[in-house]
């Protein structure tokens, strides 16, 4: 079954747990900003998973590469995509809060709907 061992397994487990924590945070919220953070934690977990998988190469000694460059490149691409999306989401959030405070309804930031 498992052919991964030692610390690799540990990192793998951590990555999966990070994803789970992120999903939990995304569902629970309750502030929109926290949901954005949770999404970032999910993506960090996924990227970590990718990095760990890329690291498999060095263990096996099949090539003289330190790690799988394809996966690492994908992580870089993913990072940029994630930060772009986060920036956009934050801009939307800021605008949302601005308009809701301008409507002068006494605070109580509007909640986003629970998931879906």
């Amino acid at each position: 079954m498992t052919e991964l061992s030692g610390s690799l397994l540990l990192f793998l487990l951590t990555a999966a747990s990070l994803v789970a924590i992120g999903v939990y945070g995304f569902i629970i919220g309750p502030e929109p900003l926290r949901r954005i953070l949770a999404l970032n934690i999910i993506s960090a977990g996924i990227f970590m998973l990718m990095v760990v998988l890329a690291y498999r190469t060095s263990g096996s000694g099949a090539t003289e590469l330190a790690a799988d460059p394809v996966l690492q490149a994908l992580v870089l691409t993913g990072l940029v995509v994630a930060v772009s999306a986060t920036a956009f989401a934050l801009a939307l959030l800021a605008r949302l809060e601005q308009s809701s405070s301008e409507m002068s309804a006494p605070l109580q930031l509007k909640q986003t709907e629970p998931e879906q």
Binding site: L4, L10, I28, A44, F47, L53, Y55, V70, L74
Partner: protein
Amino acid sequence: MSLLLFDTLLCGLLLALALASVLSRQLSHAVILYIAFGLLMAMAWARLAAPDLALAEAAIGAGLTGALCFTALARQGQLALSPVVSWQQRCWPALFVLVTLSGLLLALLQIPASPGPLPALVLQELAGSGVSHPVTAVLLNFRSWDTLLELLVLLLALLGTLQVAPAPVRQNSWALSRSWSQLLAPLIILLAGYVLWAGASQPGGAFQAGALLAAGAVVLKLNKQLNWLAWRNIWVRFFAVAGLGVFVIAALAAWLLQGLAAEPVWLRWPPQLAKYIILLIETFATLAIAITLTLLVVAEQPDTPLSLETQDSAGGSDD
């Protein structure tokens, strides 16, 4: 053994920070915890033989995202404690997440220890790619279409952000930080140039360099300098777009060059020119990334006293 101990500690901390960030009652604490989490994550990646990713994560994942979140926090004004989530509300999501997690873990355990065929293939073809660093080769040659689209994603995020950007927040810059940042700026530019250049053979490349540049620019911008750096400036717009533009034009040129051949291939660089083309693309991409990221963080509507009605029509690229 000590390495395993270190790993365990690292993983434990990562999990703890993430969990704390999700659970903390104060939003500002959550953001700070998240930034710490990002930095620690960079460390973990460095440990996992991914130094260039670690650099990127530190700059983008922790640094920029953190800056973005802080800006967002600053906009929110005074913060109340988050509302309490009752046990019932917590219970079902937690159960759901645990079930999913166990399923995921079961799947992960079946992943074979040996990597797929691609790393060997990359190594085999690296010589023809024009660069010696495999990650850069993948990014800008083997899978350059991904990178092109990714630059587009970045640009798009900027377009969207400019469109909805809220009113600026009045804050005074701090004298000490202003002088300090002026000192910092040239250093950062130097460092970024080096990282860019190194990308061909060592860890580094356009994204990291761009992110570094952006970090410097953000610091300066937040201290009310670099006022020319705004979307209404045509040169800024030009360079923000040029990253993609040069990429596409280079690709078109390379395509037309092969036009004499029977079946031209999209995005194939002629082997002897590959290094220069990639460097050219990277340079412009770095600038574009830097400008875009900076504008993303400090995005503000250009017109000052802004009423929401005018904003609807003024969004996007109108100047």
